[in-house]
């Protein structure tokens, strides 16, 4: 046991709820605390993104440490875009010493999407290698060089998967690789295309992966038709079906947010019914204040207690 609240909930077989909180573009501690306070009682763990979309923000580790002080179980997101293996391993040790118990291993959005496209990227290792390194630290007590660590971090290892990326036939194979590499839990890309998600889950289930890894379906409430359109056309790897776009476009502008939340609740109920889905991961981009309402309306409140 890593001491992760998320791990305890999932290993007890309870349906988990996590949410994403983007750190501020600055050193505003209050902004981190505000999001933490908002989410605290409504989710089991809070993911802190690592310079998402390659825009410089407060580092995930610091924000996670602040959340941990508030009694929240943070999920440290780590991308391999900005740091080499030396920095990543060092940060893992530091993060664990600060009380962080979950890590989500990612490769990261390419820097050309961000505010500083002139930057050099690193990609010394990939997300699969990172998951493997975190697992090896935990299970063998060794760093990537094979050196036995003085108190090796015992992380609950997460990875992302995108059932909506191509080539589809490879997506489950890649999930299997991530599980073999070390992933204990998976948080998926936002599910709008439930049909495709079901298809992916069915394949994962058939291959026996759903018994080996906890899959949390990514959930994003749509705020407006404009946001839906943006998600559909501008976000890499996202798939927003035509009927989803039509539905939110079909309501008056002032009713769009309400409709978006309704659609989101329907998606939550649909994914909950899929065998092998062990939780949801809510990514309410700069709309975190809606998370409590969503969790309550979905019948997922109160959250279970852990020791």
């Amino acid at each position: 046991m890593s001491g992760s609240r998320l791990q305890q909930i999932l290993s007890r077989g309870e349906f988990a709820v996590t949410a994403e909180a983007g750190p501020p573009r600055g050193a505003n501690l209050e902004a981190v605390r505000r999001k933490g306070a908002l989410l605290k009682d409504y989710v089991d763990a809070v993911n802190v993104t690592d310079n998402q979309t390659a825009i410089v923000r407060m580092c995930s580790m610091a924000a996670c440490a602040h959340l941990h002080q508030m009694g929240i179980d943070p999920v440290l997101q780590m991308v391999t875009r900005d740091r080499n293996r030396i920095a990543l391993q060092s940060d893992l040790m530091g993060a664990y010493s600060l009380g962080i118990r979950n890590v989500l291993c990612l490769s990261g959005d390419h820097q050309t999407f961000g505010s500083q496209p002139d930057a050099m990227n690193v990609f010394d290792i990939d997300s699969m290698n990172l998951a493997h390194a975190v697992k090896t630290m935990r299970d063998e007590g060794k760093d990537m060089s094979g050196f036995s660590l003085d108190a090796a971090p015992q992380f609950f290892v997460g990875a992302a998967e995108n059932p909506f990326g191509d080539p589809f036939e490879y997506r489950v194979m890649r999930l299997a690789k991530k599980v073999a590499a070390g992933a204990d839990f998976i948080q998926t890309q936002c599910v709008f295309d439930v049909k495709r998600f079901k298809d992916w889950m069915r394949q994962a289930h058939e291959q026996g992966l759903t018994e080996k890894v906890h899959i949390l379906a990514g959930i994003t409430p749509l705020k407006s038709a404009r946001m839906a359109k943006y998600m559909a056309t501008k976000v890499p790897g996202m798939r927003v079906p035509e009927q989803v776009l039509k539905r939110i476009e079909g309501v008056p502008k002032e009713k769009a947010a309400e409709e978006g939340l309704k659609m989101c609740l329907e998606t939550i109920q649909e994914v909950r019914a899929i065998s092998g889905v062990h939780g949801i991961h809510i990514m309410a981009v700069e709309w975190e204040e809606k998370v409590p309402e969503l969790v309550k309306a979905a019948g997922l409140y109160p959250r279970p207690k852990v020791a």
Binding site: D109, H110, F123, M128, D166, P167, E169, Y170, R174
Partner: protein, 222 residues
């Protein structure tokens, strides 16, 4: 081949401005093939510079020469008489050529006229694409002959990232997803099982990460 493109004329003008006698030195190998620094480009560049400086009311004498290869000393030596007559050399070769010329002629500035971009191939007329990073440890056998180092924007070794859609890279719709191609090729060979294998982190010590590289061939040393 090494692919390069000419620097903008305004930038070249700034670089050569301090000199009144200039040798524009072309290279007849890679940069000729990619239309950056062969005989034709040398002639065009020389004319453009003469014209540009004339317009500014400044006189500059520009001489033209193209050698077979600027990365081989025996060809560079042929330029010696021309170099001696000038105050600077504007080399239209790749970065290797520029430095090779500079190491032969130590008393004259050798200036770059092209940006050396990558090792690549001509995909179709007018289109050059990157194909090799020179990582020092070829792994093409593991990836169906498609290099994930030079062709995947994130150098991923264990499959496509979440941004691959409809065969295109998340970075640009102009970039084919290397992993889509790798998977299609393995499928065509009937070797999809090779994709299930976990690929460990790379040893970058043989790449530029290990510092400037040298290749020693004792059997060829005299």
């Amino acid at each position: 081949m090494i692919v390069a493109e000419q620097k903008p004329i305004a930038e070249i003008k700034d670089i050569v401005a301090p000199y009144s006698r200039l040798l524009v030195l072309g290279c007849g190998t890679c940069v000729k093939t990619c239309f950056a620094g062969g005989e034709d480009e040398v002639a065009t560049m020389a004319s453009a510079l003469r014209l540009a400086f004339k317009k500014d009311g400044k006189s500059i004498k520009v001489e033209e020469l193209t050698v077979e290869r600027q990365c081989e000393d025996e060809f560079i030596q042929q330029a010696a008489p021309c170099v001696a007559r000038n105050h600077a050399v504007l080399s239209l070769a790749c970065g290797v050529g520029v430095q090779m010329v500079a190491s032969r002629f130590t008393r004259i500035p050798v200036l770059p006229g092209v940006n050396t971009t990558f090792m690549g191939q001509l995909e179709k007329p007018g289109l050059f694409v990157e194909r090799c990073l020179g990582c020092g440890d070829c792994i093409l056998d593991d990836f169906a002959g498609i290099c994930p180092m030079s062709r995947c924007s994130k150098k991923l070794l264990n499959g496509p990232c979440g941004g691959s859609q409809n065969g295109k890279c998340e970075v640009s719709p102009d970039i084919d997803c290397a992993w889509q191609t790798i998977i299609e090729r393995f499928k065509a060979f009937g070797q999809m099982d090779r994709l299930t294998r976990y690929y460990p982190p790379r040893n970058w010590s043989r790449s530029y990460a290990g510092g400037p590289r040298k290749l020693v061939r004792e059997d060829h040393m005299v």
